[in-house]
Symmetry: C2
Subunit: 225 residues, 2 copies
DNA sequence: GCAAAAGTGTTTGGGATACACCCATGC
DNA sequence: GCATGGGTGTATCCCAAACACTTTTGC
């Protein structure tokens, strides 16, 4: 800090890594940049945070405007991820970005957002800034989160089958799990209960639908995996 | 974000939560504020982050100047903790604070730092700003970190006894552990090795000294607790 | 010899892992 | 009747937890 010059803060920006599950693929929400730098490339939805707004307020406004996704209503869950502050990460000058990670149940993007799209995390386009590494970091955090909390509920519908639950874990963790062990263990955690409903989906036995007991984020009594 | 007015970022500040172990107490480094707001009260060491400096660069400079502690050389370990951004947290105006948490081996504070002191975390003075809740959050993070990494090495001397190791865990976790189970488990993790040296300390059997195999942060094969 | 911390093993219960077949449905 | 995904149980191993006495030293 220089005492001899007046204090000038860096630019403050916010960015969101928003995941959803589509079939058996984990996807992330991106927007296409409309202007330089990185015009035409894909990037995480984000923008400037001016004085007077908290990071989450600024982010909510920006993501809604750029993608049509409403963090307050469309997301099951959001948390602060990390603050990236490498001086050179934005070619326009020193910008510090506070990033958030969230999970949404499957969303259909509104028509007003032709420049926003979900991409599978294993088939991302070229990304602007350091956003590729931010996504990798978010995915690691999400995988860790699934092992010690009920965060997976944020990726599923209110009612879901045990196979869908297992698929969600497999998509985030990136590996296959044993069906019998998975069910036995998850049911003994007492996080979910059966509902009277069933899920019919083609030429096979219908599946029981389950629901989470709690809709808020809870820490597991013993960690998963 | 207002389009009609030029972009003005909030103030950016940095703060450090630096822990050390003193006997069987976990302590945290505080400085006494020399000016308003909160003049005379204790606070985490921190200050302004101007454009051009990364948060960790700014923090290193500030902590060295205010407390004499050199983050680069005196700390075994430091990591970003969280970014606090409530608009009202600083009475002078909207300030966003990027906080860091670190562990130091027992430090003797230099003479130039009569306004810096380590306080036991269970006997803190009144704290300025929202610093009390930041310390609580940091302590939770540190406790979690000890369960799945070798971070405890940052709180101990290079060579240490198994009793000192157990005391470190007990101080951070806030509960007592069984001596035989603790030793059995920790030794099977293959993180530490015996040294030829012993520690003599009064009228009782001397203790073997151990050392960590790796000085960098590693994730445990199975989590501790 | 005595006070004080270091050091050491066994038993038991629960959860993790590995593994293969029957069930209900649509066509 | 057959293809498709839903649903279920057992045996083994390893780890967590509970628990008390002997050893080495300084005085």
């Amino acid at each position: 800090m220089k005492y001899s010059s007046p204090y000038v803060p860096p630019t403050l920006t916010v960015d969101a890594v928003i995941f959803q599950l589509h079939g058996d693929k984990l996807e992330v929400l991106l927007t296409q940049r409309e202007s330089d730098p990185f015009k035409g490339e894909w990037a995480l939805p984000g923008g400037y945070n001016a004085v007077g707004s908290t990071t989450i307020e600024a982010l909510t406004e920006i993501v809604l405007r750029k993608t049509g996704v409403d963090l307050d209503n469309d997301l099951a869950y959001i948390e602060q991820l990390y603050t990236f502050d490498t001086v050179a990460r934005d070619p326009r000058g020193h910008a510090v970005s506070v990033t958030y990670m969230g999970c949404s149940r499957a969303i259909t993007l509104g028509t007003g957002s032709q420049h926003a799209e979900f991409f599978p995390v294993d088939r991302l386009p070229n990304l602007a800034y350091d956003h590729a590494s931010i996504i990798t970091y978010a995915q690691e955090r999400l995988a860790a989160k699934l092992t010690y909390t009920n965060a997976v509920s944020g990726l599923l519908d209110k009612k879901f089958t045990l196979s869908q639950l297992q698929t969600a874990y497999e998509a985030v963790m990136g590996r296959l799990l044993d069906k019998r062990n998975f069910r036995k263990k998850f049911l003994t955690l007492n996080l979910i209960h059966e509902t009277p409903d069933t899920w019919r989906d083609g030429a096979h036995r219908p599946a029981k639908l389950y629901a989470f007991n709690s809709s808020s984020l809870e820490v597991l009594s013993r960690s998963f995996d």
